[in-house]
């Protein structure tokens, strides 16, 4: 159809972070005047690809061309100058600056004597917001903006660049329906003006509605590229998650025992509402849902690192003091958090120190903690979990993501918990290690541990859980038995758009 060079062409682009290969072979061709969808599971490498296009990361290998010209950006400023506007998945706004300043930072309209023309800036911001149909005060600080509003600001910023290529990494994850419609209108306007747009979303209905072409990625590699009209949502899901599930999920069946964890009417204003469920000994309960649905917040509140407004958490028959992780640990809770590098591990510390982090008090004799006791515990647990590290005093930063994850698991298992909450236990972990982690969880459950597993990877939830709770927009939208839980049913329950018409049918 087009003879001109594509606006963006990536061929075999690769990027690794230490041992993690985030992108193995990224391939993407975006024609001018089209909206191109990029879909794939969590961790498929979409954001990494986007960051390379936006000059945030430098690729390890492969080709990147803009309008047929090879480019190699050394920084975001260069990409911007070359006409690439990117809305990143995690917006980085400056909380102390006003909304308008955030949008125009570094390229403020100048008046006389090269001074910032605030009136023009405000007017420009208003116009942008009018186009997007939102009502935001350009003069309010970015601090305290909701994720949705932050996203709007990012979108406005990107649009105001009037770039030839606009990349949007999950821009709609937090937007309301009205905002989404406005955004789509703006995106179509850009397309019709001949700009190229890349659109990333986990919502396949949005893809169908907005996009012309769709590229599927899996495990850092390109899977397929088709006109949207030629593929069904079912095809896309299959391509995204299609892999040999049998090996990956060595589920050992067990008979659930007593209820160990009971959550009653948990509520945190603006985040989740009326969340009630329980987890039995020997049972793996999966918590499925879209990114941003509030599953992590629920887990954090249960464990006590976040406060909540109402409800209670009962472990082994006794209510926990809210907001007190120490009490939760004493009661037998363990949380393997979502963000390994920030919350799960003290990355600057050694394996031994990390493994013993929670058990220290118990290890100490007369208040003195002997290095030997620490080393013994660490050797014991890292052996059982087959942690691969040079030595026990290897610093956690030097380890692969999978091994880091095992260290976090080891740390919590060493406390002998009754309930193990794992949040995205295999995010960013290679397939082999993934299977090991699954086997471990399965075995532990079989030994009587109660496991609450949050995962954005459907196959993982379906392959591992005895029961699946689906969270949608901060509420438990469905509870499914292992038999009931098929990818289609879970996806429909989880997706705000898809649910209404079809829930009854499921």
């Amino acid at each position: 159809m087009q003879n001109a060079a594509p606006t963006l062409r990536l061929e075999g682009v690769a990027k690794s972070f230490g041992p993690v290969a985030a992108l193995r072979s990224g391939t993407l061709v975006v024609q001018p005047g089209t909206i191109h969808a990029l879909v794939g599971e969590n961790g498929a490498g979409k954001s990494t690809l986007v960051k390379i296009v936006g000059g945030v990361h430098r690729r390890d290998a492969g080709v990147v061309e803009l309008d047929g010209e090879p480019v190699d950006f050394s920084g975001p400023a260069e990409a911007k100058a070359a006409g690439v506007a990117v809305i990143h998945q995690e917006p980085a706004s400056f909380p102390d600056l006003t909304v308008a300043e955030n949008i125009y930072l570094g390229r403020e309209p100048l008046g006389r004597f090269r001074r910032i023309d605030r009136r023009a800036m405000r007017a420009g911001t208003r116009q942008l917001f009018r186009d997007l149909g939102v009502d935001l005060d350009p003069d309010r600080p970015a601090e305290g903006l909701s994720i949705a509003d932050q996203q709007i600001v990012e979108i406005a910023k990107a649009i105001s660049l009037d770039a030839r290529l606009l990349v949007m990494d999950e821009p709609t994850a937090a937007l309301s329906a009205v905002e989404v419609r406005r955004l789509f209108a703006v995106a179509r306007g850009l397309r019709d003006a001949g700009h190229a747009v890349v659109f990333i979303s986990h919502r396949l209905d949005e893809v169908a509605e907005l996009c012309d072409t769709v590229t599927v990625m899996r495990d850092g590699e390109h899977v397929s590229t088709d006109p949207v009209a030629d593929v069904t949502a079912g095809d896309l899901v299959r391509r995204m998650v299609g892999r040999a599930v049998a090996d990956l999920y060595p589920k050992v069946s067990s008979t659930p025992g007593e209820v160990v964890l009971r959550v009653e009417g948990l509520q945190s204003t603006g985040t989740f509402h009326d969340v009630s469920f329980d987890v039995r000994a020997g049972e793996i309960v999966g918590l499925a849902g879209l990114v941003g649905a509030g599953r992590s917040e629920i887990a954090r509140a249960v464990f006590g690192v976040d406060r909540y407004d109402a409800g209670r958490v009962v472990v082994g028959g006794r209510a926990l003091r809210p907001g007190d992780p120490t009490a939760a640990i004493a009661a037998g809770l363990a949380l393997v958090p979502e963000d390994r590098r920030l919350e799960g591990l003290v990355t600057e510390s050694s394996v031994a120190r990390n493994v013993s982090a929670v058990s220290r008090r118990r290890l100490a004799r007369l208040g003195i903690l002997l290095p030997d006791a620490e080393a013994r515990l660490a050797r014991d647990w890292s052996g059982r979990l087959a942690v691969k590290a040079g030595a026990l005093d290897a610093v956690a930063t030097t380890m692969s993501g999978g091994n880091q994850q095992k260290v976090v698991l080891a740390k919590w298992l060493a406390t002998g918990p009754k309930v193990l909450i794992v949040d995205e236990p295999t995010r960013g972990i290679d397939v082999g290690t993934k299977a090991e982690v699954h086997r471990l969880l399965s075995t532990l459950a079989a030994e009587g541990l109660a496991v609450l597993m949050i995962s954005s990877e459907l196959p993982e939830v379906l392959g591992m859980a005895d029961r699946v709770l689906v969270v949608r927009e901060g509420r438990i939208a469905a509870e499914l038995s292992r038999a009931e839980a098929t990818p289609e049913v879970v996806m429909r329950a989880a997706t705000p758009g898809a649910s209404a018409g079809q829930e009854g049918a499921a």
Partner: protein, 341 residues
């Protein structure tokens, strides 16, 4: 936000007015005598200039503890220049001292920006080094009033239309820097860097260049403060400005500049400096022995930081509450259905 900040500065200004008002009521000469009025304006001039420079550095999430030593060095340099080269015009001498200050600031800035090491440690180190250089150079020598030209010393006390020259200098510095911080792209970028240094890199801002600029400006203003010191006090020994750094940081903090960068204004810092020194002068007048002054100043600093935090908490609570009313729990899905039809 500017409305809130304006309120913050208005608060300090109000406190300043209250202090002046109460003191004047007890001792009318504090404000109403010509000397009282002059000192009210003149005394804070040097600290204001230092606070303006420090505020710019603190806004970028750094700090410069070496300003007292830079002041000492440049004040002595000023005197020395008058002795060594009596024919040099005053303006040239002042410019040389300011340039020297800028260079010293640039040294700090380069180490911080290029080696990516914490400014607190580096400027603590250069605090010792610069002071050591001043001591080595000056020894027991002291610049006396007689060593400097009358016309220069006159600047220290002279008034134009009833306003002391040094106060005018401080006001001009404040106006220029405030204008830059508010209206220039570079100024806003300094705020952005302090607000979130990583995001600033991600946005492709010239972080290094801006940091160098901020430290150089801080140094240059400390140099200017050195010149003002020489003019005002008429004597300079190697100890000039000893220990003033904590007072400067205190003034900046009282003035509402967050120590972790990104917020606050130079005008606030200047008001903070005026408030601290005016309180200092007011206490003996209202009958509190001057021994207690530091305690009052310390309580004031702590109170100011705590107040800032309370205001910030209240603000973010309010913003969060707004968010909740914007997005009622049921609204989202309903809207979405509608959109998808």
């Amino acid at each position: 936000m500017s409305a809130l900040l304006r309120r913050r500065e208005a608060g300090i200004a109000l406190a300043l007015l209250v202090v002046i008002g109460v003191t004047t009521a007890i001792q009318p000469g504090f404000l109403l005598s010509s000397g009282g009025f002059r000192d009210l304006l003149l005394t804070p001039a040097i600290l204001v200039v230092l606070a303006v420079g420090q505020a710019v550095v603190v806004i970028t999430r750094n700090v410069d503890l070496s300003v007292g030593s830079v002041l000492g060095l440049t004040a002595y340099l000023t005197g020395r220049l008058f002795i060594e080269a009596p024919d040099l015009p005053i303006v040239v001498v002042a410019l040389v001292a300011v340039a020297a200050g800028a260079v010293l600031g640039l040294v700090n800035g380069s180490i911080v920006a290029f080696a990516r090491v914490p400014a607190l440690v580096i400027t603590l180190g250069t605090l010792y080094v610069y002071r050591g250089i001043a001591l080595t150079w000056a020894g027991s020598d002291r610049i006396d009033a007689g060593d400097m030209p009358r016309s220069f010393l006159a600047l220290g006390t002279q008034q134009v239309l009833g306003i002391p020259v040094l106060t005018i200098v401080a006001a001009v510095v404040l106006a220029v820097v405030a204008y830059y911080m508010y209206t220039a792209r570079g100024g806003r970028q300094l705020y952005a860097i302090g607000s979130d240094p990583d995001a600033a890199e991600l946005q492709g801002l010239p972080v290094r260049r801006r940091l160098l600029g901020a430290f150089a400006l801080g140094g240059a203003l400390a140099g200017l403060a050195g010149v003002m010191f020489a003019a005002r006090y008429g004597t300079v020994s190697s100890g000039a400005g000893l220990g003033i750094e904590l007072q400067v940081v205190g003034a900046v903090v009282v003035g509402g500049v967050a120590i972790f960068g990104g917020s606050g204004t130079v005008a606030g810092a200047a008001l903070g400096a005026m408030l601290l020194l005016t309180i200092n002068r007011a206490l003996p007048v209202v009958g509190i022995p001057d021994f207690w002054q530091r305690a009052v100043v310390g309580a004031l600093i702590i109170g100011a930081i705590a107040l800032d935090r309370v205001l910030a908490r209240r603000r973010s609570h309010r913003l969060a509450a707004e968010r909740d009313t914007d997005q009622p729990g049921e609204g989202g899905p309903a809207d979405r259905e509608e959109a998808n039809r």
